[in-house]
């Protein structure tokens, strides 16, 4: 065995998977997982852990896999993360844990994410109970939003014995895991549903169809609900548009709309009522994971797809794996290209997109080289659908209906590192605080906030 070479993992072939919504990556077999786990050097001073937002003891769980103790591996993971099967699939390991693996200096880093996924999947398939809750301590906490931040915060507090209720605005729990990330990257009925079930087993109650700020308010939670603390994990749900001419033509969608129709409302399945419009030629504007998800979804629905991104391949914010998969599936990339107008026909439907070529200038505040238009390089290409995947911002509803809750210029809730906000007893974390980021960062924030809430309530009742 070559210690510096990663154990290959099975995937659906690109030509097959670009016509279905089944998961792309098929996961390791037991033998493959053991072989990959044995590559881990079990470093005395493991650097991988330093890059994990929830500080999973990575060598420990990998060691259990190497020994064939798969249930133990899952239990190690459960100490640190409420969503190992999710994180193993969607975390950007290449820029976090795996980026620090010493094997990476000479060859391939250990496939930490794929092993995490293996252990979590194995435990699920073998019905292993991984987490238990302490006896109820009689204190109530309300969690707003059932995405990664809310799930993590609720899970950690329930384990500590708190009586936790999650309020979710949509009709299904899971937040971005359900409406945003497609089935082919994160299966809903197996993986996500199971994680939610685990939460319920810990005693967490989930109330769907409750919009905090409309159906009830944070004041109601304190006054009528007798909650001791509230955690806001309401995410960043509002889509951005470019503000270019033609954006309201029929056939221009936000990635949020397109993905919500397909993922949450299951429009890709004939027996569901919600329609989806994909057209024959689709331009997806943006270069993040959401852009890749929208592009690959459109491809699966039968369209020819172009990603339009203003910087070069190197700056694509999407994970390398997602870009690689998209390319394999036949997604076209128009890089260093920026839309300037959407062109419509006489009935107001999209018929093309006008773009300008870009070049990279001096680095901007983000450290990335600033894209600048090349004069006279304007061109138009024919599409009938445009999907805008330009990022999202937090929903202002909760701050606007909660007195004393401070927000910053970007309408993000102001919270310190522990999640404490300007209002007593109210904590916040995840995209609602940071603006659109990753699943694992939101989970990290949910975890920090759970610890801070525990401390807050305990000190309130002991003084």
């Amino acid at each position: 065995m070559d210690r510096f070479k990663r154990t290959p993992i099975a995937e659906q072939p690109p030509k097959v998977r670009s016509h279905n919504f089944k998961e792309v990556c098929l996961g390791y077999t037991e033998e493959e997982a053991v072989a990959e786990a044995k590559r881990c050097l079990n470093c005395k001073n493991p650097q991988c852990m330093t890059k994990c937002p929830v500080s999973v003891n990575i060598p420990e769980f990998i060691h259990e896999i190497a020994e064939g103790n798969f249930a133990e591996a899952a239990k190690v993971l459960a100490k640190y993360t409420a969503l190992p099967a999710v994180c193993g699939r969607v975390c950007p390991q290449e820029s976090q844990c795996e980026s620090k693996c010493v094997l990476g200096n000479k060859g391939d880093a250990v496939a930490i994410g794929k092993l995490e996924r293996f252990a979590a999947d194995w435990a699920r398939e073998h019905n292993i109970e991984v987490a238990t809750a302490k006896e109820k301590n009689g204190h109530k906490v309300a969690v707003i939003g059932s995405g990664p931040a809310g799930i993590t915060c609720a899970g950690d507090l329930a384990k500590e014995g708190y009586d936790v209720t999650i309020y979710e605005a949509l009709h299904k729990p899971g937040g971005v895991l359900v409406y945003g990330i497609p089935e082919f990257r994160l299966p809903k009925d197996t993986v996500v549903k199971h994680e939610i079930e685990n939460l319920k087993k810990l005693g967490v109650k989930i109330e769907t169809n409750v919009i905090v700020g409309r159906t009830i308010t944070i004041d109601d939670l304190f006054e009528k609900g007798n909650y001791d603390a509230v955690f806001i994990g309401s995410g960043a749900g509002l889509p951005k548009f470019m503000g270019i001419p033609g954006e309201n033509y029929n056939g221009v969608f936000s990635a949020n709309e397109f993905l919500t129709r397909n993922n949450l409302m299951k429009a890709f399945k004939d027996e569901y009522d919600t329609p989806i419009k994909v057209g024959k030629k689709v331009a997806v504007v943006g270069g993040g994971n959401v852009a890749m998800d929208a592009a690959r979804t459109a491809k699966r629905l039968g369209a020819e797809v172009w990603i339009v991104y203003r910087r070069s391949e190197e700056e694509l914010p999407a994970r390398v794996e997602e870009v690689h998969h998209a390319k394999e599936e036949g997604i076209n990339f128009e890089l260093l290209t920026n839309p300037i107008e959407i062109v419509g026909d006489e009935k107001g439907w999209v018929k093309g997109i006008k773009c300008v070529r870009m070049k990279l200038g001096e680095p901007d505040k983000s450290g990335r080289r600033r894209p600048e238009p090349i004069e006279g390089s304007e061109f138009e290409f024919e599409v009938d659908t445009v999907i805008m995947a330009l990022g999202t911002s937090p929903n202002p509803l909760i701050p606007s209906t909660t007195k004393g809750l401070e927000v910053d210029k970007r309408k993000c809730i102001v919270a310190d590192e522990s999640g404490k906000t300007s209002r007593e007893g109210v904590f916040a974390g995840g995209d609602a605080v940071t603006g659109a980021a990753t699943v694992i960062l939101a989970m990290g924030a949910g975890k920090e906030a759970a610890a801070a809430i525990d401390k807050y309530i305990k000190s309130k009742y002991t003084n």
Binding site: I211, I216, N250, E257, P275, I276, K277
Partner: protein
Amino acid sequence: MYKIVDKKNLAPNIFSMDILAPRVAQSAQPGQFVIVIADEKGERVPLTICDYDTEKGTVTIVVQSTGCSTKKMAQYNVGDYFEDFVGPLGQPSEYVNEDINELKKKKVLFVAGGVGTAPVYPQARWFHERGIDVDVIIGAKTKELVILEEKMREVAGNLYVATDDGSYGFKGMVTNLIEDLVKNQGKKYDFIVCIGPMIMMKFVCKLTKELGIKTIVSLNPIMVDGTGMCGACRVSVGNETKFACVDGPEFDGHLVNFDEALRRQTQYKSEESEKGGQHVCKCQQGGAK
């Protein structure tokens, strides 16, 4: 699951249903709407609130069965349950926050078209409860499609009915009636609230702009989540893009780009014929708002 505790047939293919949803009933205000999902595979259908009863914990919705989702909903009976019911959504009507003494000095006209009569009722009632009698026009194609007339009469000052074919009340469009009231009968209004089909709101706004009367409209574009997430409901208001679900649904009608809004409503019309197999109906009708 949300229980249907009462159902009435208001007109051919138009039903009212009382849904048990205490939290929504408690928080609802004039101008707001709800989203209803009939069953597990159903669409999220936005519907206006026709009435709410905080004591009984019920919210009344009115459904016109025109699309596949609303046809599905119309088949539900008392004792059945809808899968999901969420709200109240959107901003309450602007006047709710106005100084009540200022409001009392104003003359207000409500113009309701078809099932748009349903959301006008709680608004007229809101004024009535505060000692203000508003004038109301109910417009419909023909007599049997006039709904909620008796309920409306209890809360309105003057109630006028207009039918396109003249089978009941004034013969003609609501625009003809507004013109008649203002030009011939010397009525003066400080503002108008107009709720009905998009095309009706367009022509009412065209007229009231000429007459110089401020007009509020309630828009019913395509929506998915109804909470600001999808942007399907975007509408141009005074050259700014707004999301009807969170910025509206009520806007200054003289600033709304109705031609764009009408066009955007047709976005999913062709999907109906494209769907193969046994489930051919994926039409988005937006429901009975």
